[in-house]
Amino acid sequence: MANAMFYSWQKLLCSKELRQVLVFLGRVRRFMCNSLVFLLVDSAVGSQPLYEEMHMHKNEDDEHKDKKVKILVDSHPKHLSPGQYLVSDLKIAVDVPAEKELDLVVNGALTPLADTATIVVAEGEVFFSHVRRGGSS
C-alpha cells in the first residue's frame, strides 16, 4: 500500500501535468513579483511629476522675482528688476552718483527727473546722467 502510494506520488511529480502546474505557479509568482515591483515603481515615479511640477512652479516664481530687465544708462546696459523706483534709489541701483541729475529720454526728449520723483522701470528705458550746472539769470 505504501509502495503504491509512493509510486503514485512519484508518478505525479514526474507527470507532465504537474510540471505544467508548477510552470504556471512560477509564472504567477513572477507576475506577482513584477506587479509588486511595478506598484513600487509607480508609487515612486508616479509622484515625481507632481514634485517636478511643484519645483517648476517654484522656479517660475523665483524667475519672476529675479527677473531683470535691461535699460540704458549713459549708453551702457544695466540690468535691474522691473518696477517702481524712487529716482534717488534708481541712481544707486544703476551706479549714478547722487549729485548727478538723471534724465529719461521720453519720445526722444531729454526729460530731467527730480530725485524725489518715482519712475516705473519696465524694459528698455534710456537714461542719461549729467552734472547740474547753470541757471537762469
Binding site: L110, F128, S137
Partner: protein, 110 residues
C-alpha cells in the same frame, strides 16, 4: 575742439546733429530737438553753442521758437542767417560733454 565722437553722443537724442561754424564760433545744429512734455511746439530746431561767446555766456542753446513762459529774459539773435531765440541761462561750462551741456540747458523747459 569738438570731436565727431562728441557729436555722436549728442545724436543719441538728436540723430541729425551736425557741427557748423559761423566765423570762428562753433555750433551744433539740432534740426529735430525734442523738448520735454508740455512744451508747444514739442519739436523745434536748436542751435547749441558749446563754448563761450562774446555775449558772456559760457555756452548757450538757441531755439527756432521762443517759450516766454519758460526761463527768463528771452532775446532774439541772428546766427547763420536765421532768427533764433534764447533765454538767459548761464554758467553751463564748456568743458562738459555736449550731451551734458544740452541737458543742462534743457532744464529751462521742464
Amino acid at each position: 575742439v569738438i570731436t565727431e565722437g562728441a557729436v555722436g553722443d549728442l545724436r543719441a537724442v538728436c540723430p541729425e546733429a551736425t557741427e557748423m561754424m559761423e566765423g570762428a564760433v562753433r555750433y551744433i545744429y539740432l534740426p529735430d530737438l525734442r523738448l520735454p512734455a508740455g512744451n508747444v511746439p514739442s519739436v523745434v530746431e536748436g542751435l547749441l553753442r558749446p563754448g563761450a561767446g562774446s555775449d558772456g555766456y559760457t555756452s548757450r542753446l538757441f531755439l527756432s521758437h521762443a517759450f516766454p513762459t519758460k526761463g527768463q529774459n528771452w532775446t532774439v539773435h541772428q546766427i547763420v542767417a536765421k532768427t533764433w531765440h534764447t533765454p538767459s541761462f548761464n554758467l553751463v561750462p564748456a568743458d562738459l560733454p555736449l550731451l551734458d551741456i544740452l541737458a543742462n540747458h534743457l532744464r529751462v523747459f521742464v
